[in-house]
């Protein structure tokens, strides 16, 4: 089997036509294949997120992870860039949507594209993946333990993020939610209410919550890593994308 993959840093046009950095990984066989926009977690466009991006390519998808912090910290180390953006209160929602749209357009323009696009995001990126699915025409979206999709941040918290469930009527695609039962943000109760709301709206979705796992259980380089949960959840992702990105 021919299994070569090309992984490289590229420039794409993000929100407002801005040129932003992105990390792309894609199989070199002719395809056609679906595309995945990987939305990095709050600590940024780091080595572990690039590894996740390569994992999608190894498993047969064109994948791209836009550096959401390109503008504030061009060329900076991921941790320095994350600190600068964090101090500024995070990434504005509208800009995020524009950057994901630009990444999706880059994927659709590949000669190996089949036209199908998914998003997947982790931590703050989980909420952003859900948001993108409410605002863009997508084929699948995965929310990995995104907080503040259903509930507002605790009173007094300086977080600028606002809930996005109010936009859920506009969801353009099925949603896969992957959560840890020990997580507080989002809590199991918040996940349950989001599940109920999507059912009420008639939106195609499937949620899986893992006992013994908390926030960031996919993170292989952090103590939050839970191998059993992560392995099962990766399987759910391959099944979900297999159904919705085939073409």
């Amino acid at each position: 089997m021919y299994d070569a993959v090309l992984a490289e840093t590229v420039n794409i046009h993000g929100d407002g036509g801005d040129v932003i950095e992105a990390y792309a990984a894609r199989p070199l066989d002719p395809g056609p294949r679906g595309g995945v926009v990987v939305i990095h977690h709050m600590p940024g466009y780091d080595a572990s997120t690039k590894e996740i991006t390569r994992t999608f390519a190894v498993n047969g998808y064109n994948a791209i992870c836009p550096n959401l912090y390109s503008r504030e910290a061009p060329g900076a180390a991921p941790d320095d860039a994350a600190a600068a953006v964090r101090a500024a209160g995070g990434v504005p929602d509208d800009r995020l949507v524009g950057d994901v749209a630009g990444a999706a357009a880059w994927l659709r323009a590949l000669t190996t594209a089949n036209g199908k696009i998914a998003t997947i995001g982790y931590c703050s990126g989980g909420r952003q993946s859900f948001l993108a699915a409410c605002r863009l025409d997508l084929d699948a979206a995965v929310d990995c333990y995104g907080a503040f999709v259903m509930d507002a941040p605790p009173e007094g918290a300086p977080v600028k993020m606002t809930p996005v469930v109010g936009q859920a009527a506009n969801l353009s695609c099925p949603v896969l939610g992957l959560f840890g039962e020990d997580d507080a943000y989002p809590s199991p109760d918040e996940v349950k209410r989001l599940d109920e709301e999507l059912t009420r709206l008639g939106k195609d979705h499937e949620f899986h919550s893992y006992p013994g796992a908390g926030h960031a259980f996919f993170s292989v380089d952090r103590p939050a890593y839970r191998p059993e949960a992560a392995k099962d959840a990766w399987g759910r992702i391959w099944d979900f994308f297999g159904r919705h990105l085939a073409g």
């Binding site: 709050m42 600590p43 900076a76 600190a83 964090r86 101090a87 977080v159 507080a184 952090r222």
Partner: protein, 86 residues
Amino acid sequence: MCTYATTRLSVDGSGKGAEGWFGLTDASVYLDHPVHAPAGHTLNIDFLNPAAGPGARVAVELTAESARRLAAAIVAALDSAPPGLV
């Protein structure tokens, strides 16, 4: 969770970063996910000079207990200085 809870303050002094010493103008203090420390959440301090770019940064990530010990030690050191020194 990603707390985004940050205390920002102006500071006056110097720090040694990846490219040597530089003047400090700002500091951020926050409890959030660490980049490197083996813990879910840590008390993080960034000593910064934003005018010199995002890389002008000295970062520490401390467990909550060690951060409290550091805070107490800083106050104790300042309080123990001979009269007139600071």
